[in-house]
Amino acid sequence: LVGSACSEKKKDHLVIGVSMLSMQNEFIQQVADALEKSAKTANVELIVVDAERSSLKQVEQVESFISQQVDAIILNPCEFEASSPAVEKAQKAGIPIVNVNSSTKSKPDAFVGSDDAESANMAMELIAKHLNGKGNVLMIQGYMGQAAQLDRERGAKAVFAKYPGLKLLASQTGEWDRAKSMSLMENWIQSFGDQIQAVFAQNDEMGLGALQALMDAKKKAQVYVVSVDGIQDARKSVEQGNLDATLIQNAEKQGSESLRMAVELAQKKKIKESNILIPFEIFQKK
């Protein structure tokens, strides 16, 4: 079983396995693009697979990487807890593993990313500032029970605790989906009407869905909408003066930094900082 591994012919370049949360998500797609781009310049072969938001699938993909004897693994975890076995398995097999974008409970060899809770926190702070600490807010959640949803909810709740004047009118799931959150917003407009003062959506897709519903109902002027991720569509919408703000995660930097770390770990170099936090940037119309 071990013998066959050594007889693999010697490669002239590094092979790095990458398991991404979901290639149907634009932000993740951008990170993957950045990875590919940096890999090309660094002459690294990437094997990119899509976990389709399933942590089980992700664990299995890492198992496949291990059996393929890759030189390093970059993991974009689906879940804080449930993707942990992937990290443990890689480390047990002696393959360095780098987490990108979000974290796992088991500590990887390096982490590059941003804190989901922080993005929600910043978004809600914008809302609080806009409403002067007093007003009615709606929150559109991601898919219930997923790490990103939980973290962003946590970050947002902290702001509500800080400003007693902010009232959470309702919070429901939009399942990360534009059409679903548009319907949700339409229904909320019926039940809350003019009470709505601000909307926080846990990702841009849902923010844009809610925005569409508000514009169709000619209510956008009264309502302040903020979402997170900073995807192309959302930035454009901000520039056009529709969406009020989005929080940009620097996908480019997450991609290139995590690749650099993975390469250095694969080459057994000593790394100085194993925890690279890339801050969010607020994107709003000046």
Binding site: M23, Q24, E26, Q29, Q141, M144, A170, S171, Q172, T173, D177, R178, A179, M182, S183, L184, E186, N187, W188, I189, Q190, S191, G193, E205, L208, G209, Q212, M215, D216, I231, Q232, D233, K236
Partner: protein, 313 residues
């Protein structure tokens, strides 16, 4: 009127629909507003159009799980063709509808020619379709669409929102097709007893092919409408929509074994699901409980419908 209602096979689900409406109406005054009624119709339009199309497939004894993916592919195609400053709207719409029919024909041809169970054929095309939508869009939402496409999603004609107009036209068209044409009769005949239809000289394969073409056509129409509504072509739109549409059809009294069903029933099924979704949001039930209640009400309604049908006899 009373007689007509008692005779209709959809009486049970109609009663269930009235009951949930009354329930929500009593729980919140926001429910029975003209505005909210219009919102519900608007929201169900996509699911209704999918469900109308797949009703034919199910009556003919088949199934179509690829609806959601076909919707996504069509949505991406119409978005690509409606990029600002590209083709005229009608060209984009026409090509998209044709693409939907072609994808449906692909399903139908596989079902007819290879005798592979439709469940597997359409499960396969569901996966393929999702991949195609991602490939076409490179995995990104496609925005900057023509204003005129957007009009289909959020405009109105004589005060009636365009999606509702689409809903009504589709309803009338499918209702006529199923009840007033030879085609509709043959669809029922094939679902009822395929061999008998064959020996009576019905061109079974041709009809079965068309049934999937219709399903594809309406999936494309739904894709256009959804894209227009959210003003973006989304490769991952319509995930799981097939189950909603099929559920509406079956709740509406169409038999999973084929041979019988009505478009009116399907419309009631769609409205039923739509009203529950809307009502639960209005009374702000927690997201977790929403699912429990939703599932419970659906089962309950179908059970009541069964009792009602028995009582009638």
């Amino acid at each position: 009127m009373k007689n007509l209602f008692l005779k209709s096979p959809t009486g049970g689900i109609f009663i269930a629909l009235v009951l949930v409406c009354l329930l929500f109406g009593s729980l919140t005054s926001r429910f029975f507003t003209p505005m909210n009624m219009s919102v519900i119709l608007n929201q169900v339009s996509v699911n209704a159009i999918l469900a109308f199309g797949v009703t034919f497939v199910i009556i003919a004894g088949g199934i179509d799980l690829s609806l959601g993916s076909l919707l996504a592919v069509s949505g991406v195609i119409v978005a690509l063709l409606s990029q600002e400053g590209s083709y005229a709207l009608w060209i984009g719409l026409l090509l998209t509808l044709l693409a939907g029919m072609a994808m449906g024909a692909f399903n139908g041809a596989l079902v007819v020619l290879t005798k592979v169970p439709p469940f597997i054929v359409t499960l396969g095309t569901m996966t393929i379709g999702r991949g195609v939508a991602l490939l076409l869009s490179k995995g990104r939402p496609i925005s900057d669409l023509n204003e005129s496409l957007n009009f289909l999603g959020s405009g109105d004609i004589l005060g009636i929102p365009v999606p509702i107009i689409f809903l009504i036209i589709s309803f009338v068209f499918c209702q006529m097709l199923l009840t007033k044409t030879v085609f509709g009769r043959y669809v029922k005949a094939i679902g009822g007893n395929e061999m008998a239809a064959f020996v009576a000289g019905v061109r079974v394969n041709r009809i079965k092919l068309w049934v999937y073409v219709i399903s594809g056509l309406f999936a494309a129409l739904a894709g256009i409408l959804l894209t227009a509504r959210i003003n973006t072509g989304q490769p991952n739109a319509g995930l799981g929509f097939e189950l909603d549409a099929i559920a509406a059809v079956i709740i509406g009294g169409t038999s999973t074994r084929g041979g019988k069903g009505t478009i009116t029933g399907t419309l009631l099924g769609v409205l039923f699901i739509g009203v529950i979704n809307n009502g639960l949001d209005l009374i702000n039930v927690s997201a977790y409980w929403q699912q429990v209640i939703m599932g419970g009400i659906i089962i309950l309604a179908v059970v009541l419908d069964g009792l009602y049908q028995k009582m009638k006899k």
